[in-house]
């Protein structure tokens, strides 16, 4: 019987495995130098945050986590002010060039801060990582220049990007189907690819776990980062109102049922802790996608040696 010889195929991953090891190490140094505590929170959960379009993989009597967010917020509520985690996460049915059902999120949270402080962290982090791993901040991805220099970052309000490229303002009259379709067919393809781009201030129905802007409740304090046109990270000023959070979870469950998906139980321990959570900013950043860009591979295939399907 012949043993499948995958040593050759795996040997080809030497460069990206080395790059991933150095990336993880550089991320940890960056946050430790800034007095963040690295944590490991549970992977097997009795409940995830219900989100309309994110499906969890069931495991035993619970689910694998789709994000470490709820437990990290319970730590914030317990008084830990700066936290980070390199967190393997799982999402059912996500397979593609830039999706894999098992992936790593880097999440970090800052108490007494909001999404703009997180943006400053992210700028510093990416230029630090590019410098550490590539030796420069001006790089390229798939033949096109891409700079990680902090002064080049661009912020585009979601409303103005949609008005310019899709001809409507989703913060005025929200249409979720049209939003998703126009985002991927009109807005994302029009974003600059030579520098980090941030889409900021999402329509309130897409707030998820972000707080609405105090002066403009039609919009939420949420931003997303794009590198080379690829979505890399999602950040919030965190919602700390347990009643509003519960209502949003219930709304997400209603929308899940409308699309024929099962509703999820609510994490009551998280909701109970939320009333004690200080104002905070937080972010989830896709480490595999960032590695794909730093390693200059065109899809996650190039950075995942054990790709599942």
């Amino acid at each position: 019987m012949k043993i499948p010889a995958d040593s050759d195929a795996l040997g080809g991953f030497r460069r990206v495995l080395d790059l991933r090891a150095r990336l993880n190490d550089a991320i940890r140094r960056f946050f430790r130098e800034r007095d963040f505590l690295e944590v490991d929170t549970p992977v097997l959960l009795p409940a995830n945050a219900p989100e309309t379009n994110i499906d969890a993989l069931s495991a035993g009597t619970g689910w694998l986590r789709t994000s470490p967010e709820l437990h990290m917020k319970r730590l914030l509520a317990a008084g830990f002010e700066r936290l980070f985690q390199l967190a393997p996460c799982f999402r059912d049915g996500e397979h593609g060039r830039w999706h894999h059902p098992e992936f790593v999120l880097l999440e970090w949270y800052r108490a007494h801060a909001g999404y703009l402080e997180i943006l400053a962290d992210t700028k510093a982090l990416l230029s630090f990582l590019a410098q550490e791993l590539l030796g420069r901040t001006d790089s390229s991805w798939q033949g096109r220049p891409l700079s990680f220099a902090q002064e080049l970052w661009e912020k585009h309000a979601v409303s103005s990007a949609f008005i310019e490229h899709a001809g409507w303002d989703p913060a005025r009259t929200f249409d979720p189907d049209r939003f998703d379709l126009d985002l991927v067919t009109r807005v994302e393809p029009a974003l600059p690819t030579d520098r980090p781009v941030v889409l900021i201030d999402y329509p309130a129905p897409l707030a998820a776990l972000a707080r609405r802007k105090p002066a403009d409740p039609a919009r939420a304090e949420r931003w997303e980062l794009y590198l080379g046109g690829v979505e890399i990270a999602n950040a919030y000023s965190e919602l700390t109102d347990p009643a509003e959070q519960r209502a949003r979870f219930e709304q997400a469950n209603t929308l899940r049922q409308q699309r024929g998906a099962a509703p999820y139980p609510l994490d009551e321990a998280f909701l109970a802790a939320l009333s004690g959570m200080p104002p905070a900013g937080g972010i989830a950043l896709g480490v595999d996608r960032l590695l794909m860009i730093l390693a200059d591979t065109d899809s996650l295939d190039g950075v995942l040696p054990f790709r599942n399907g």
Partner: protein, 189 residues
């Protein structure tokens, strides 16, 4: 019959507003908090042009009524080419516009794959290689076996093909029907 977006894959044939398309590229996309979508490049099977189309997971996509038949070429009548189904002896007329340059490579009794959309012939695929006789070319230089220098030559249907210098009138050559190019000389009794 309808497909859902999760059936989409490279090579799938779909129908939009009565026109059949083939999916030539396919990418799963899903914005962070958004719904799963499938960004496709699709090829109009009638006109040949391609375009981008993004389908949401909830979209229903029509399935075209496409039938494939093996037909043998029979004869030509003006700009119409008559094919025959060797099982039913049914005759099928196919206009030269559907055949394009493929019409130059037809041979009597040559079996071709014909795709029909709603009963109308849409594409004709010939075997990859056919053998044709050279009916006109400059006399070949004896002993010149170079294959990288080409001269023009005509086959019986009037199609002009580049052939090596050593090919003569009356020789038989193999032609790649997908590219319309000379492949090799064939000894034919």
């Amino acid at each position: 019959m309808a497909y859902t977006a999760s059936d989409l894959r490279k090579g799938l044939k779909i129908e939009i507003e009565g026109i059949p398309y083939e999916v030539t590229e396919f990418q799963f996309v899903k914005p962070g908090k958004g719904q799963a979508m499938y960004k496709c490049r699709i090829k109009n099977m009638l006109a040949g042009n391609t375009m981008e189309r993004t389908f949401r997971a909830v979209d229903k996509i029509d399935q075209p009524n496409i039938e494939s038949k093996t037909l043998a070429y029979s004869y030509q009548e003006g700009d119409t080419y008559i094919f025959m189904d060797n099982k039913t002896y049914e005759q099928v007329e196919i206009h030269q516009d559907v055949l394009g340059d493929q019409r130059f490579f037809l041979l009597e009794d040559l079996e071709c794959e014909v795709l029909f959309h709603n009963g109308r012939a849409m594409t004709v695929t010939l075997p990859a290689f056919v053998v044709k006789e050279i009916v006109e070319t400059e006399p070949g230089a004896r002993g010149d076996t170079a294959t990288n220098v080409l001269k023009p030559a005509k086959i019986d249907t009037g199609y002009e093909v580049g052939v090596p210098i050593f090919i003569n009138q009356g020789d038989f050559i193999r032609i790649d029907t997908r590219t319309g190019k000379y492949v090799e000389r064939v000894k034919q009794g």
